[in-house]
């Protein structure tokens, strides 16, 4: 097993001593047990961090929207209102839980769970850094696409089971929108898989470098267009404005979660905000070089060589730099998502479907074929290295 969080930690001597000690005292091979404990702690850390990021996402959304509209935004709870999301959470827990009498009880309760499970399960392969990836499955991106579509099921079931006309319309719209926009997003992902030659997140990021000209976004013109296709589709898949038709408050009250109150609504909202982070992370990993740091600083080899640091310490510093690189790019995209929401008006249903099926899908298929032809014609070289090579041969002749 390589490139999981456990294999990163097992590079240090302490962990192997713990494993061998435990194996002796327990009488069987304790590697899996220790791996389980390490994974459990790491998962707790990731879930805790992401729940906080989701909560801060709501705060950021309100603060940035206030900024864009020349208002104050939340400013009462804590310094600059930063604890607003905790207050909201407490309020949601204290709210009365109402399940409509005519609702389909089982699916009504099941729906928010499906959303949460779909989003949390995708976190397993989000590459925070080369060491701090929970697990680098060999089917990485395929698994992520599959798990993320569970959210669509949750949205539809939530709308359907409420037995309210608003919810029904919202759920229907949500389902059709999420499945439609999955097509351009997936085809764009395939064209990047084609460039990288592998499905795991490690391979996808490994083909890129720290500098912008080494990113897949600038690998060739098709991938450049592909980034925007993916980003637009990701906005629609997470029900973000201008594609927030499933919960369009001016026409559908609150869409698929009209009948949900208190914490059940909170779970939908939390899942949505974490999902936005995940799709921004995926866009970073696929197109913007992921966790790569310029000049190979992430491996820590230079630090050992130039400063004479301890190998493990240098590696840890490299990991921190990689985490910084990943989160900076992801949060920049997160800001763009919020910015778009408060800039563009909402689309109509027919415009939404036209955009997906008549524009994004043909463009995505064109990009896929373009990437395939590019790989074949230029033997997988990026446009930058082609220009660089041509320039150096021209310079060499004179």
């Amino acid at each position: 097993m390589n490139s999981t969080i456990f294999s990163y930690f097992s590079q240090s001597k302490e962990l192997s001593t713990i494993i061998s000690g435990l194996s002796k005292s327990l009488g069987f091979d304790a590697t899996s047990l220790v791996a389980f404990i390490v994974f459990a702690i790491a998962c707790l850390v990731v879930v805790g961090a992401l729940a906080t990021i989701g909560g801060l996402g709501t705060y950021a959304e309100r603060k940035i929207s206030a900024d864009l509209q020349a208002r104050q935004g939340p400013n009462r709870v804590g310094p600059y209102g930063i604890l607003q999301f905790l207050a909201d959470g407490v309020k949601m827990i204290l709210k009365e839980d109402i399940i409509p009498a005519n609702a389909d009880r089982f699916t009504f309760i099941l729906a928010p769970f499906l959303c949460m499970i779909g989003v949390f399960a995708t976190l397993a392969v989000v590459p925070f850094s080369s060491g701090f990836t929970l697990t680098d499955l060999n089917v990485g991106i395929f698994y992520l696409v599959g798990m993320a579509s569970l959210v669509g099921v949750g949205v539809f079931l939530g709308g359907y089971s409420s037995n309210s006309k608003w919810s029904m319309l919202g759920g229907m719209r949500g389902a059709s929108q999420i499945i439609s926009y999955e097509i351009p997003a997936t085809i764009t992902i395939i064209s990047i898989v084609l460039l990288a030659g592998g499905l795991s997140m490690g391979t996808l990021i490994g083909g890129q470098g720290g500098m912008p000209q080494e990113w897949y976004m600038f690998h060739n013109p098709f991938a450049f267009i592909g980034f925007f296709v993916y980003f637009i589709s990701a906005l629609a898949e997470t029900n973000r404005a201008p594609f927030d038709l499933p919960e369009a408050e001016s026409e559908l009250v609150s869409g698929y979660h009209t009948e949900y109150s208190g914490m059940r609504f909170g779970l939908f909202a939390l899942a949505e905000y974490i999902e936005v982070f995940v799709v921004c992370g995926v866009a970073t990993a696929l197109f913007l070089g992921g966790y790569k740091v310029p000049f190979e600083l992430g491996t820590g080899a230079i630090l050992v060589e130039k400063l004479g640091l301890d190998i493990m310490l240098a590696k840890n510093i490299g990991q921190v730099l990689e985490l910084g690189s990943f989160f900076t790019k992801t949060f920049a995209l997160y800001y763009v998502v919020i910015w778009v929401r408060w800039t563009l008006p909402r689309l109509r249903v027919d415009q939404l479907m036209t955009l997906c099926w008549k524009y994004l899908t043909p463009i995505a298929i064109f990009n896929l074929l373009g990437c395939a032809v590019w790989m074949y014609a230029f033997n997988g070289k990026s446009i930058y290295s082609l220009i660089f090579e041509t320039a150096s041969t021209v310079a060499g002749h004179h």
């Binding site: 999981t4 109402i98 949460m116 499955l137 698994y143 499945i179 009250v253 036209t354 395939a372 997988g380």
Partner: protein, 142 residues
């Protein structure tokens, strides 16, 4: 090479369990402290103050069904494309890129033909009936 090691799938299971625990736990904690006094009116579906007439589980627009059908074809297509895309680079390196490129082109072109057919038939238009009436009126005027 290496043997099958299922340890790498541990975080997947842990995260699914954790998601259920977080969701269930917050509802459970809330259940201990939140008020609970349901009334008949409170438990009806929200309809902006009106009393709801009939159920929401009625016939729905057939457009959703058509979209779902088209989606299934393209979703199966993309899941079939994943393995091809994953080996494309390796095939290209050993000089078989042309063969793979042709098969990708053939496969995608068949699907594009399907998309063009749907487009021509007007199945991608959300407001198909309006368009059809307009065409009929134009035909009658001639």
């Amino acid at each position: 090479m290496s043997t099958l090691n299922l340890d790498v799938y541990m975080p997947v299971v842990i995260l699914i369990v954790l998601a259920t625990l977080v969701a269930g736990g917050s509802l459970l904690v809330g259940g201990l402290i939140r008020p609970h006094n349901p009334t008949k009116l409170k438990e009806t579906a929200y309809e902006c103050g009106e009393e709801p007439i009939g159920t929401a589980w009625a016939n729905f627009n057939v457009r959703f069904y058509v979209i779902a059908l088209i989606f299934i074809i393209f979703d199966v297509e993309s899941s079939l494309m994943f393995p091809v895309a994953a080996v494309f680079k390796r095939f290209n390196e050993i000089g078989l890129g042309g063969t793979l490129l042709m098969s990708v082109l053939t496969f995608v072109l068949v699907l594009v033909a399907g998309l063009v057919y749907c487009w021509k038939k007007g199945d991608l238009d959300w407001v198909k009936s309006f368009h059809a009436t307009k065409v009929n009126i134009a035909a009658k005027e001639k």
